[in-house]
């Protein structure tokens, strides 16, 4: 039963058109409609386009590998490339990214190797890349929890007088969590150099946004925290890049946090174990497929004469090379060490863990006698 059967939620009905710089047809919008933001330079847009194409190829490849059983799970970001890539592209090397499980292509765009991104989804370990080197926190699974980590890190940077900014990615469903509220509020009260990028892909697994909230947009919530909020066309890479860049600059210059909502759509299922036909119409998916973020930017670049056939072929080749690399590394058998289970839990060694490690080692050796002996000794 829905609590709002009788009344129509404000969501979507009263939502204003999202801010965009390039429209569905690939044309630049009028200056009067651009909300004061200007189109990024053409080289920047070309860079975004290249990364989006490569990211999609990666995403499609990993989804295929998951269907083949090579990975335990993979939450796809197909259709959300503009949000993911633009958010990362707006960051400086010293900045930190706090991603979720859906943001693997953001990691890819920030230079993480496929094998390291996919280590957790293959099941090798709970996370698999070098956090300090890439300035990326582990992909968070509990919703909105990482937003508080971003606020804390940004605040620490501010206390140390570093010019580091933290950017966190969230989904629309995550904004219902208490941790999202606390993160928005702490960030605003502490004037933390942090940027919240909410990818409104319209579904929290199966639940649509109008069952999450009753206000017009997620961005509207910013006013309640005392920070700026922007409602952006999340399939317009130019607009996402322009708005996120402005927010990052603002944070870096002591202006505090910003909440950005990118309106987009999750084309794929939540994960490979989800069946989206149970909760949404194929026609809706098709409609959003027609609003593809890559095609939109491609049309614009071609119209500007900035994307030659050679360039497109070069990008396609790079995407195929990455797909091949991804296939190869996921075809290799993962090397896992059962005894590593005990290695990292504590910085200070524990006797009880050493005993359990020895127990498992003996079990692995198939040394039943040694194992039984340990037990007997310990009960004496």
């Amino acid at each position: 039963m829905s609590l709002n059967v009788e009344s129509t939620p404000l969501t979507a009905v009263l939502a204003p058109p999202p801010l965009r710089l390039i429209d569905d047809s690939g044309n630049a919008v009028l200056d009067s409609e651009s909300g004061g933001f200007v189109l990024p330079p053409i080289e920047t847009l070309l860079g975004l386009y290249r990364q989006m194409v490569v990211a999609r190829r990666f995403d499609v490849q990993v989804t295929a590998l998951t269907r083949q059983g090579r990975l335990a799970t993979y939450p796809s970001a197909l259709g959300q490339e503009a949000c993911e890539i633009a958010a990362v592209a707006a960051l400086a090397p010293q900045d930190w990214l706090f991603p979720t499980y859906r943001d693997s292509i953001a990691l890819l765009a920030r230079g993480v190797e496929p094998k390291d991104i996919l280590a957790s989804f293959r099941g090798d370990w709970h996370s698999g890349y070098d956090y300090q080197q890439h300035r990326i926190a582990p992909q968070a699974t509990p919703l909105a929890t990482q937003a508080l980590h971003a606020v804390g890190l940004a605040t620490a940077a501010k206390l140390k007088r570093d010019d580091t900014v933290a950017l966190t990615l969230l989904g629309d469903g995550a904004t219902s969590e208490g941790d999202a509220h606390e993160a928005f509020n702490f960030a605003a009260v502490w004037q933390a150099p942090v940027v919240f990028v909410v990818q409104n892909n319209q579904f929290a697994i199966s639940v649509p946004l109008d069952k999450q909230m009753a206000c017009r947009t997620i961005a509207d919530k910013a006013i309640g925290y005392g920070m700026p909020g922007f409602y952006v066309d999340g399939n317009d890479a130019a607009a996402m890049y322009a708005v996120v860049s402005a927010a990052v600059d603002r944070a870096r210059n002591g202006g505090g946090p910003t909440l950005i909502e990118g309106l987009t759509y999750r084309i794929e299922a939540h994960t490979n174990s989800d069946d989206p036909t149970r909760y949404r119409k194929t026609a809706d998916v098709d409609l959003w497929r027609s609003r593809d973020p890559i095609e939109r930017l491609e049309k614009y670049l071609i119209a500007q004469g900035a994307l030659s056939n050679d360039e497109r072929a070069d990008i396609a080749a790079a995407a195929e090379t990455l797909a091949a690399t991804t296939r190869e590394c996921m075809t290799e058998q993962a090397v896992v060490d059962p005894l590593e289970l005990f290695e990292h839990v504590y910085a200070t060694p524990r006797t009880a863990l050493a005993e359990q490690r020895a127990f498992l080692a003996a079990e692995l050796d198939g040394d039943a006698e040694a194992s039984a002996g340990e037990n007997e000794k310990s009960t004496r």
Partner: protein, 339 residues
């Protein structure tokens, strides 16, 4: 009491003074902040007010807003932001104002504080101290007297400690702040005003070690935090009844000091654990189980648990019926067959 020695630190050795447990904690945070500029303190009311128990009294004035700050009233937010700060090289000391008010932070503690080091294969340590005033016997209204230690001790990745006296309060908090592992630092509220003469900085036994506070030959009575005083009183009363009770202060609940406690139990052959928390699934169950597994053939009787009842913590006028007392403990010990 536990052996003590004074530490040489940047804060210098001071003349002995009569300090409450709360004042010892205050001195530990202050000295840690003097010695290590990465130590920061925040939470609810810890700034100008100095905390509702005055544990952070004067620190805001001494170190200023950048290192000591009042946060918004949100415990998940406090712990969650502490995680981010620790990832950036700070050592946050945060306060959950009362035991039961730590529950909004449960997810951040269990899913991130406890797991980050393991998740990142040791690359991201979280040197965070989460201070939790806990337990009852202070006439507190509902939600102000919970003993929540078993939630934390059941969580791999957390170190859980609870001092029972001012010397340990100082020494253990200094060590907790210096530790690269996250520490749940459980402060027995009813002992905040207990006093001892201390020449700070004082160093007692290291974390992770239990201490035999009083030697005895008939029974090992195991306690921690607020029930240590009860256990010592029980031993004194037991002596009058011809019972020689050895009292152990666990100090650290996770990890458990099997060596010290096991040696005592093998010596006396009888053991009982005392805590305020409810019995079912409580910390005492783990103590009884592991001591039995490891020392069964030395035991003359089953290990007893003298604990709070399996009910929510009662209101002030009823708490005296809930809390373990020396009489109740001695009555429990008398149920054993004594040959």
């Amino acid at each position: 009491m536990s052996p003590q020695q004074t530490l040489e630190t940047g804060t210098g050795v001071r003349a002995p003074e009569n300090l409450t447990l709360a004042a010892a904690l205050n001195a530990a945070i202050r000295d840690a902040m003097v010695d290590d500029p990465t130590v920061v303190l925040f939470g609810e009311d810890v700034g100008p007010l100095g905390g509702v128990f005055r544990v952070t009294d004067g620190l805001y004035a001494e170190f200023g807003e950048t290192r000591v700050s009042d946060s918004p009233l949100a415990e998940a937010g406090i712990v969650g932001t502490a995680i981010g700060m620790a990832m950036y090289g700070l050592r946050p000391v945060v306060e959950m104002q009362f035991d039961a008010f730590s529950y909004p932070a449960f997810q951040q503690i269990v899913s991130h504080v406890a797991k980050m080091r393991n998740r990142t294969r040791g690359k991201v340590s979280l040197p965070i101290v989460i201070r939790i005033p806990y337990a009852g016997d202070i006439g507190g209204v509902e939600h102000h007297s919970d003993s929540s230690e078993a939630y934390w001790t059941a969580t791999p990745g957390l170190t859980v400690v609870s001092p029972s006296n001012p010397a340990d309060a100082y020494s253990m908090l200094r060590e907790a702040i210096a530790s690269d592992d996250p520490v749940i630092f459980m402060e027995p509220k009813s002992r905040y005003w207990s006093k001892a003469s201390l020449a700070l900085p004082v160093q007692t036994e290291p974390l992770n070690r239990a201490v035999v506070l009083r030697e005895g030959s008939d029974v090992t009575l195991i306690a921690y935090g607020p029930t240590v005083k009860t256990a010592l009183a029980t031993a004194e009363q037991g002596l009058a009844e011809g019972l020689s009770i050895e009292v152990i202060d666990l100090r650290t609940l996770s990890p458990f000091d099997d060596e010290t406690v096991g040696a005592s139990v093998r010596k006396t052959g009888r053991a009982a654990i005392v805590h305020e928390a409810a019995q079912f699934g409580g910390y005492g169950a783990e103590v009884a189980a592991r001591l039995t597994e490891r020392n069964f053939f030395y035991l003359a009787a089953p290990i007893l648990r003298i604990t709070g009842f399996d009910i929510p913590y009662p209101s002030p006028k009823l708490e005296e019926y809930f809390l373990p007392t020396p009489d109740r403990i001695l009555a429990a010990l008398s149920t054993w067959e004594w040959s």
